[in-house]
Symmetry: C2
């Protein structure tokens, strides 16, 4: 596969799957959202986020219909305005943009009661279980009147888009849309349906703590797909065990990675997501990014340690700083000779857990800077803003990149770091990040709660000789170049052809 | 097996395993502890706890040497005084009592830094991961200078007790002693060694968060045993996957339930622990307990709901009360006609998490009593004391017993409840309790975080017709009578004979 020209391989897979059909993709967040402009006319704004970026590539290769949730009033209005949608999607018919529209209160319940506080926290194992969650009447109502209905609205929109097509090809995405396949399957029994979960799939014992209608609904809902995809083999295995636990009559084939249920077969596969290597390099080598890299480098010392993360608890930012503190304590000669640049992107700032965590992080930074800092040397430089080019600039000048999440579906920063590095950066990577499975042969592993081990790993990385750094980075970079975003998509299309047609 | 007279079957298994040897058991907490009396002479006090009670039975059947940790100054002094130990063990030589003695600071590090705050919380998945644990230098030091040394001291004591015996039979217990088998094996290569973990064994992804020297040390340490036992098949499976994750060269046989490593085989089995049915009944039918049962009954209404638990977060007491509140809200006709007796035993009152949790529980009880209570009717009656006979009295008069832990190695209250019930109690039982695996055919299941589902289960239990109650309780009771504490021990002895000799 490595020797094939990737775009043509992708094109071939797409042609084999689609024929003269369009590919239908459904995601919560679409490539464009609309704000209700002051004139009353909704105005388009390009969406952000890894998923949008990744799927945005797809439209370059195949004709695409993209169904997203109407998240704002502007979206809900735009949903009724074909001309506006066509313009926002680029003007030609290559990418068609559609909204699954539900009342605001329905969406709020799906998104702000079920998807984010419940499923996201559950799947990242971020709960303090003695206290949360409480599956109370409010949660069960939000499940039935929010999450279930939103998924039905998605199914209706997808079915409407496949009118006249008895065998549509549909790719559903992520934890907002676990239930959409079943109603689509009822309306289009011969559809080829896949679902990909971008976040971790935890062991079934984690699912066992929550209400049976939710966990069983999700497991059964996913089994209406032909292929169910996860970031890693471990998550795929966890899913198989979850099905075994909660869908009593399903027959689980651990060897063949499939579930047989109700005279249908669902294939369970892992497709580690990746980045668009070209696009990432383009940003990192832009004039603005290079200028910023020079500026940053001017303010740093001999060793440059970098992290880039959304500021949120699962990223384990606090223990990263504690490990750095332990390192400065243990190796006094590093003081004054190392700079830790932390690029932290604001995230879900309205959530109490996130706000509290942000304050703990800031306090740790202040404490460590006060403890070790001296005139002209600040041990940690914090950048709290959403500036992608600056973050890539930071990664490009790093000697060591620290990526130590508690748990992470994939983690694309690890992949960006090895692609943009100008200094053969050493990657220190959590074993519990999905990316670790692909990057174990080049990264230095850390267990996320192990502050001592993380300090050891940083010390090892900083002391690594240039030749070893070059070799490791080379291996990692070639891996990301080979297994890039096109490869991720191509493998799914190929599997849909061979497994589902 | 059910048709065999259990004591004789146990005796036969013991004879086959032991020959003329003594059985050596090692546990953290022994059957007797010593307080340093005012005269300076240590005074014995019988230990408590399920493990001590269970293993105490063993001494009735086989000659036994019991090695426990010297937990107090009295223990450390008694360790040097053979006469005192002999008296405390009953005066004859049937049970020999020995202490593994280490300096107080060593024990404190093993017990109060590693075993309880780290391993117990880890294995019960009770962490709020973004904050804890921090495996810092203090923890790593406590591991090396506390936990490792305590286990070495146990090994020395066990080896000393097996002097002159080249093939001693040794049973190690629980999460305090994961490392003892390896040094014993070095000194007595032909020993027959088993280890039983009384608490849950979580998925390997949970172990993956902590420091490699700890998780790998534990996995390798356990593989020095011939048989490694767990409460449930799920925990045994989780252990196999943990070994696969952290002992790279070990060959894991999921079908044969064994690990092959370093030219040795370790068999991995589940032995659900149980109660001494006779002894439990004896206490429950004592005159004092029956009088207490009558008193309690006099203070209750038509329906009696009972729970018995140590007051601690993993028992999920708070959500139990929230479910009861939801039930009173939904079924107003229950108000004034139901009594919830909660027997809560003080536990680890010095730990902040436990203290905070206790206050939350008390606040919930006060709130619910204030909200629904009226003259002459208190919705919840809380008994906060360690009174075993009273707790059994409470269970004996229950219509419904609620056992809804977040996670629990086994949970013996569920088994006591069905043995002492005088009113065909319905058992509402968490699917995440180890006991659920044996009791699924009679209990009403609940998912622990599911407050709505728990309220539903309580409603179902309260409305169950007498015939169905009788049948369910009969099934559950026969199960516990058949698979009692003797059965638990006998199966282990039999496996040691067939798998290890």
């Amino acid at each position: 596969m490595a020797s094939t020209e990737p775009d043509s391989a992708l094109g071939a897979a797409a042609a084999a799957l689609l024929g003269d059909r369009r590919l239908i993709i459904a995601t919560n967040r679409g490539p464009v959202t609309f704000t209700a402009g002051s004139s009353g006319v909704p105005r388009p704004r390009r969406g952000s986020g890894g998923l949008v970026t990744a799927l945005g590539q797809v439209g370059r290769h195949v004709p695409l219909t993209w169904v997203a949730a109407a998240m704002s009033e502007g979206d809900r209005r735009a949903a009724e305005d074909p001309k506006l949608l066509r313009e926002a999607a680029g003007g030609d018919d290559r990418v068609r943009l559609r909204f699954a529209s539900v009342e605001r209160s329905v969406y709020e319940q799906a998104y702000n009661v079920i998807a984010n506080p419940l499923l996201w926290f559950l799947q990242h194992q971020m709960w303090n279980l003695p206290e949360r969650p409480n599956i109370d009447l409010g949660v069960m109502r939000a499940w039935e009147r929010g999450y279930v209905r939103l998924n039905e609205a998605f199914a209706r929109a997808v079915v409407a888009q496949s009118r006249g097509n008895r065998e549509p090809r549909i790719m559903l995405h992520d934890y907002h849309l676990y239930l959409a396949a079943e109603p689509i399957r009822r309306a289009r029994p011969n559809a080829i349906l896949s679902h990909f979960t971008h976040i971790p799939w935890p062991p079934s014992s984690i699912w066992q703590t929550i209400a049976p209608p939710i966990r069983e609904g999700i497991a059964r809902g996913l089994l209406a797909n032909d292929v169910v995809g996860f970031q890693t083999e471990r998550y795929a295995h966890n899913f198989l065990r979850t099905v075994e636990s909660f869908v009593p009559k399903a027959e689980v084939d651990y060897e063949g990675l499939a579930v047989h249920w109700k005279r249908r077969t669902t294939h369970v596969r892992s497709y580690p997501i990746s980045i668009d290597v070209e696009a990432t390099r383009r940003v990192a080598t832009s004039r603005a990014a290079r200028r910023r890299a020079d500026q940053l480098l001017g303010g740093t010392r001999e060793h440059v340690l970098v992290r880039v993360d959304r500021l949120e608890p699962s990223k384990n930012i606090l223990r990263g700083f504690l490990a750095y503190e332990a390192l400065l304590l243990r190796q006094p000669r590093l003081r004054g000779r190392i700079s830790f640049l932390a690029f932290l992107v604001p995230s879900r700032t309205g959530l109490k857990e996130y706000g509290d965590y942000g304050r703990s992080v800031q306090n740790a930074v202040d404490r460590i800077n006060a403890r070790f800092g001296r005139a002209g040397w600040r041990p940690i430089q914090l950048f709290y803003e959403n500036d992608y080019a600056q973050a890539l600039a930071g990664l490009s000048i790093a000697d060591v990149v620290l990526v130590n999440p508690l748990v992470d579906g994939m983690n694309l920063v690890a992949k960006e770091a090895v692609v943009v590095s100008q200094r053969d950066a050493v990657l220190v990577l959590s074993e519990t990040a999905g990316a670790y499975d692909q990057m174990a042969d080049g990264a230095i592993p850390v267990a996320p709660a192990d502050v001592v081990g993380t300090a050891d790993a940083l010390a090892l990385a900083l002391a690594m000789d240039p030749e070893e750094r070059r070799k490791r980075l080379g291996r990692l970079r070639r891996g990301v170049e080979r297994e890039d975003i096109t490869w991720w998509l191509q493998r799914q299309l190929e599997d849909l052809v061979s497994l589902a047609t």
